[in-house]
Symmetry: C2
Subunit: 110 residues, 2 copies
DNA sequence: CGGGATCCGTCTTGATACTG
DNA sequence: CAGTATCAAGACGGATCCCG
């Protein structure tokens, strides 16, 4: 995954930020499943591994899609929350849900 | 990119099909730019390479998102078109455009 | 000549072990 | 339990080759 802008096309730009197999699943967990902690994301059905999760959280934060706030010190622990930018991914994700439910056999709630 | 279903979550399922940096750009070219031939896709701004393009066309066809029809024989040449399944990705892609235009500086038409 | 396959170096992914 | 280090396996990207 690159950080460079490939073009000025907004679709390409969006794919540069979240066009991988994991980022939007983390957003989904925060947006639809009220999950906000590292262990919550690790426990999702898809089984993301720790190195990928840590990397994606870092990237999403850099992109301004999520932000972290400490809820405990020594050792420090964070809650991860969507920013407004992140929350506004919801319409796009709901269209993904609609399309998936309609066209992918076996896709379904929970 | 894997072919396996990671879960029954429709968002994860969609990402399994088109959650990479190139597939949706090919769909975009067909859907919004009236491009239907191999060379058209190669000429897009983002500069996809031939091996990736050939692979993605194959996958999108397997997934029933596009289909190819010959427009010439000896040597055989194809037009690539979206199926109904592929065309119905439009609402999702329009949401991507809206979000990209709103939140990614420098994103813009053409 | 244009579609697309192949080869190869590099970067990314994903599993697992490890650290605080 | 959150996050890092390590390393093998695979995907990517570039160049070139092949075939009609």
């Amino acid at each position: 995954m690159t950080n460079l802008k490939r073009s000025t096309c907004p679709i390409a730009n969006v794919l540069d930020l979240v066009g991988d197999r994991w980022s939007l699943l983390i957003v989904r967990d925060m947006l639809l499943h009220n999950k906000h902690r590292y262990g919550d994301f690790l426990a999702a059905d898809e089984g993301i591994t720790t190195n990928i999760l840590a990397d994606r959280l870092k990237r999403l934060e850099q992109y301004g899609i999520i932000e972290k706030t400490p809820y405990q010190h020594n050792p420090v622990r964070h809650d991860y929350h969507l920013t407004e930018k992140g929350r506004n991914l919801k319409p796009m994700m709901m269209e993904m849900v609609d399309w998936g439910l309609k066209y992918i056999p076996g896709a379904g709630p929970r």
